[in-house]
Symmetry: C2
Subunit: 333 residues, 2 copies
């Protein structure tokens, strides 16, 4: 009987997760029953939400997360061996999935469509959850108009880098905020952001007042906290804010504080809405039908930070939370 490897949590995260909070474990792979498939992970996705969704954490539990995997054996109709699927089965290299009894959106494997020659790993990035997140969060929540000023925080991340480029394609002026000079250079020079700032070395309030003296119309927020307070203080009347993430606090063990925003929310009549992409779970294809051609036409660029080897998944996760990645962070199993 062959084995599956998996990472289990050995200690609940306190502040920044540590490699020693995880243990590489193994389990027997049972004989396949009717309605089941056996999947072998090709890429494991490491994402900020995996740190935030603590309800999925527990000592002894397999760490949460998505992967793109190949079906190596199948006893389920519609899921033939050889096809690739995306599934939220956690940090595991081999998984038996009971397709017939998977009843939740995120446990049912999603068959990867023909990517037209694009890399398989994009089904965890721009042609997967992060791409759909950027697309629906920006367009559905913020409804940006040509000529409007759009600020994106976490601009060099998996979602922010795509959200900013979509805003550019829609005719907006886009300002990125990121955490290193390398990231700032990348989003400006390679992705075509109009401006970008390193929040660690720039006074954001002053910088925004200079480049957007009439104010910001749309803010796509991946980070929350102090950076967001500075952006919100510079928004224009009836500005819209999509809150996609709050990575600035995920590793905080103390209560994080930031300048109060409500006085700006009132006086400029701002609208702020948080979202998770499951809201549009039946509609992700709409996003990919636009994003795919944009990639092929060279209008939408992506980048991946690939860590080699399943055993290095904790390191990839910790590095992503530290902001060491450009674009989407994935693990090549």
């Amino acid at each position: 009987m062959s084995k599956a490897r998996k990472f289990v949590i050995t200690r609940l995260f306190k502040g920044e997760p540590k490699v020693s909070d995880f243990k590489l474990d193994s389990e027997d792979i049972p004989v396949l029953q009717d309605g089941q498939i056996l999947c072998e992970a090709e890429f494991i996705s490491v994402d900020p939400y995996q740190r935030a969704y603590t309800e999925g954490h527990g000592v002894g539990r397999t760490m949460i997360g998505s992967q793109v995997a190949r079906i190596v054996e199948s006893r389920a109709d519609g899921y033939p061996a050889g096809r690739y699927v995306v599934g939220a089965w956690g940090w595991r290299d081999r998984t038996v999935v009971d397709v017939a009894n998977a009843d939740k959106d995120f446990l049912l494997p999603i068959l990867v469509p023909d990517l037209g020659g694009l890399p398989l790993s994009l089904s965890l990035g721009v042609l997967g959850m992060p791409g759909a997140t950027a697309y629906f969060g920006l367009l559905d929540i913020c409804d940006p108009k040509p000529g409007e000023v759009v600020v994106v925080s976490g601009a060099a991340g998996a979602v922010g880098s795509i959200a900013g480029q979509i805003a550019r394609i829609k005719g907006c002026r886009v300002i990125g905020i990121a955490g290193s000079d390398v990231k700032v250079k990348w989003v400006k020079e390679d992705l075509g952001f109009d401006q970008a700032f390193n929040y660690k070395t720039v006074n954001l309030d002053k910088a925004l007042k200079e480049v957007a003296p009439d104010g910001v119309d749309v803010y796509f927020d991946n980070v929350g906290g102090e950076q967001s307070s500075a952006v919100i203080a510079n928004m224009r009347h009836r500005g819209r804010i999509a809150v996609c993430g709050c990575i600035s606090v995920y590793n905080e063990s103390q209560v994080a504080v930031a300048p109060v925003i409500q006085m700006h929310v009132v006086s400029r009549e701002l609208r702020m809405e948080g979202f998770v992409v499951a809201r549009w779970s039946g509609r992700w294809d709409e996003a990919f039908r636009e994003l795919g051609p944009w990639i092929r036409e060279g209008r939408l660029k992506y980048r991946e930070t690939v860590t080699d080897g399943f055993v290095n998944t904790p390191q990839a996760f910790i590095g992503m939370l530290r902001g060491e990645n450009l674009g989407k962070a994935v693990v090549k199993v």
Copy 2:
């Protein structure tokens, strides 16, 4: 030639306004021209926004604010002597208003309709700007459903006391937050709020978890800052927040900070929207057509904290900002 009295700002407010930041001044009242009316203030309104809207402040300028006044002389069609009007002419006891050339919503005098025996001062309160604010802010922004849990901060204030009662009338369970035991008692015992807490003596987070273990659906926010962070941390999925004011910081001379909220905004997909009541400026009558009958039927209660004498307007304003009022704070000229 007779004189008008007015309060001018002698020093820009720093932190809490002081009586010495104002000077009682007088000016000649010019002879009335065609299209003009002469108004004598009956009541001056003191409201939190007068502290917040610093663009109206300037050394030597008349302090901003609304009043209800009697037309004592008229050379303008449609504004006969003897009628009452509401106008945003600042802290002045007599004002010549050029009706023909008043082109902004808030400079044009609003004729007070027949109040059916209710006090004139209500046209600055529940049947005026604060009443319309509570009505549209709660119903248009939050769309509360029967059975939902509604939290109101500043619950004993001019707007909060009305917003909470409207929520009750609409079948919601209403929790008030206020700054003294007297206020808590008033909103519970007289206004019929289901629960209320004194934020100065209670751990709000714990209190909300106890009385609303399944979470808060709607938050009508008059205060911002720490109280709001505690409420937002206890909201339910797809909760709605109307941000009406941010009085907790108006008197702060330092940058006020509060616990970060964006992680809750994301994970529960909350929607927060700030508003000013001018958004519905053509529709205030809709509010008063509901609020008036509710008052006469005894379903909606109001209270006023009346300061006597125009000369005491600064004291009334400072006291209101300190939270010394129950219900609407007005000055009887």
